[in-house]
Symmetry: C2
């Protein structure tokens, strides 16, 4: 188990097939849900995989190709019909607001909840959410239309005081807070206990990066450096590298090179071309460069952790 988990709702590319749906995924951190991309049929996938949307208050749209956002209007309408009252915030490239507005107007729908659409693209590495426990940034990818990746990072945690020390010294709350902040401890006898000796390193801070449609692009390395899980598109295999470059997509090899150079812990491949009914070839190709690679699977939930 982990505080951070990822459910794949769709990992196909431009056209749906009998074995894949367009892009969408749900990141869940301590019960808070973040949807990333929302291709057609996303709400049906949520029903199929029995995923509630009670705690879904943020949606991130990477770019405005239909396979990444055509499911949004249906989901927004369903929220409306179910009487949602909580605000919903969508981060998306310029233009989405107009699409949603046009569709709501034509059906004479006035949403019962506050929908805020925040435009991506003013600055690179933009801080989108700054929570007590985590941050989410957007970074620029390289595609045929403006395309953004997203990175979730848990904030650094406090060191943990060794249990036997708490018992032995009968520490009170103030003392515990002080030590957790990194201070040394002076006991009744005046002896100084160095913080590094009476605490253990903090638990790992988990992180996740989503690289939507993009050509091979080393500029993103600094933003995704060392993340626990990296989801990177792998639309083609290396025999189709020329097509990939032309269409500003990646091969599985490209994804693995990015994973390796960014020192991520694990690579999750997705956005498979419809030609790969069995994307095993993509997995093999990536593993040659970055062994800790897996294929994303629709309906699967991944507990994001170091090991």
């Amino acid at each position: 188990m982990s505080n951070l988990k990822l459910t794949i709702l769709g990992n196909g590319s431009a056209v749906p097939t009998s074995f894949s749906n367009p892009s969408s995924q749900l990141l869940n951190y301590k019960g808070k849900q973040f949807m990333i991309d929302c291709g057609e049929g996303t709400q049906m996938q949520m029903i199929k995989f029995k995923i509630k949307h009670r705690n879904l208050n943020y949606i991130f749209i990477s770019h405005l190709h239909g396979d990444h956002f055509y499911g949004l209007i249906g989901l927004l309408s369903t929220f409306h019909l179910y009487g949602r009252e909580k605000p919903l915030i969508i981060f998306a490239p310029e233009g989405l607001g107009n699409v949603i507005k046009t569709q709501l107007e034509v059906s004479k729908t006035v949403l019962k909840y506050d929908l805020q659409i925040k435009v991506l693209g003013n600055v690179n590495n933009e801080l989108l959410l700054d929570d007590e426990d985590f941050q989410i940034h957007a970074f620029e990818l390289k595609h045929s239309v403006p395309s953004w990746g997203f990175v979730f990072r848990e904030k650094l945690k406090q060191r943990k005081i060794k249990k036997e020390f708490i018992v032995d010294k009968e520490l009170n709350v103030e003392q515990i807070i002080s030590i957790k902040k990194g201070n040394d401890f002076i006991d009744n006898t005046g002896k100084i206990h160095s913080n590094s000796l009476i605490t253990n390193p903090p638990p790992e801070s988990l992180s996740y990066a989503y690289c939507s449609d993009t050509a091979y692009y080393e500029n993103i390395l600094e933003y995704i450096e060392g993340v626990t899980y990296l989801y990177h598109e792998a639309t083609f295999d290396k025999t189709m590298e020329k097509v990939a470059i032309e269409r500003k997509h990646s091969t599985a090899e490209h994804a693995a090179m990015i994973a390796k150079k960014a020192n991520v812990k694990k690579l999750l491949l997705g956005h498979f071309s419809a030609r790969f009914s069995n994307p095993g070839v993509l997995l093999e190709e990536a593993k040659e460069i970055f062994p800790n690679t897996i294929l994303s699977r629709e309906g699967q939930t991944y507990f994001i952790r170091e090991t």
Copy 2:
């Protein structure tokens, strides 16, 4: 078997459920496909039910509530990505063109095929298609936004000459054509054979009417009079008649009353509210008034014929 068949792709109402998709259906006449409504996920339903779209050149959108057209843009994009070149004609209420245009613009898509969107609503009982073998008309329903029904009618066919008469009199092509047109036949001896005695009545002309979202509305009776199959919405049961009236929808009882008064041959119920995971109650209710009623079922193909 029949020349006219109907495949239900979705028969749910506003919100999708684990057991139903939003409205869409395909009418197939001698291989020509006509799509009626196109809710979210329609293209996935076509994949699921292994339905090709080679001969789909006309789409009819009844009204601009999302559950009847949110799947359109995805389908149009897929046609584009698969290299469609044939024109596509969509009949829809005012406003759809702008929705499609906005969505294509934002994704910088220029369709490879000619898309024509024809606006419904200038006249009632408008003739939309006039083929050699059939006609399709639109007629006005009664809903919270402008909503249209569609009726397909095979043209009247020619009488059939009795086989034994053809053999006996050794009729040539010209003579056969003349008799089929309704003329009497004069044989070598000068004897006049009355047309009604040497021919059988023409095979039945098949017809189908689709009544999308509508309150109980007797004005439609003249347009759907005597159709072979009538698909009529039955969002609610009669215990919810008040809600049905308020929301301008029908109960199963309403649908059956329309079927009875219009002298249709068979009634197909659809557009079930999400509350009816088992719409058996709707079937029973309708059958009390109009016994030849069935529940539409997603994925099912109905061969439309008299018996």
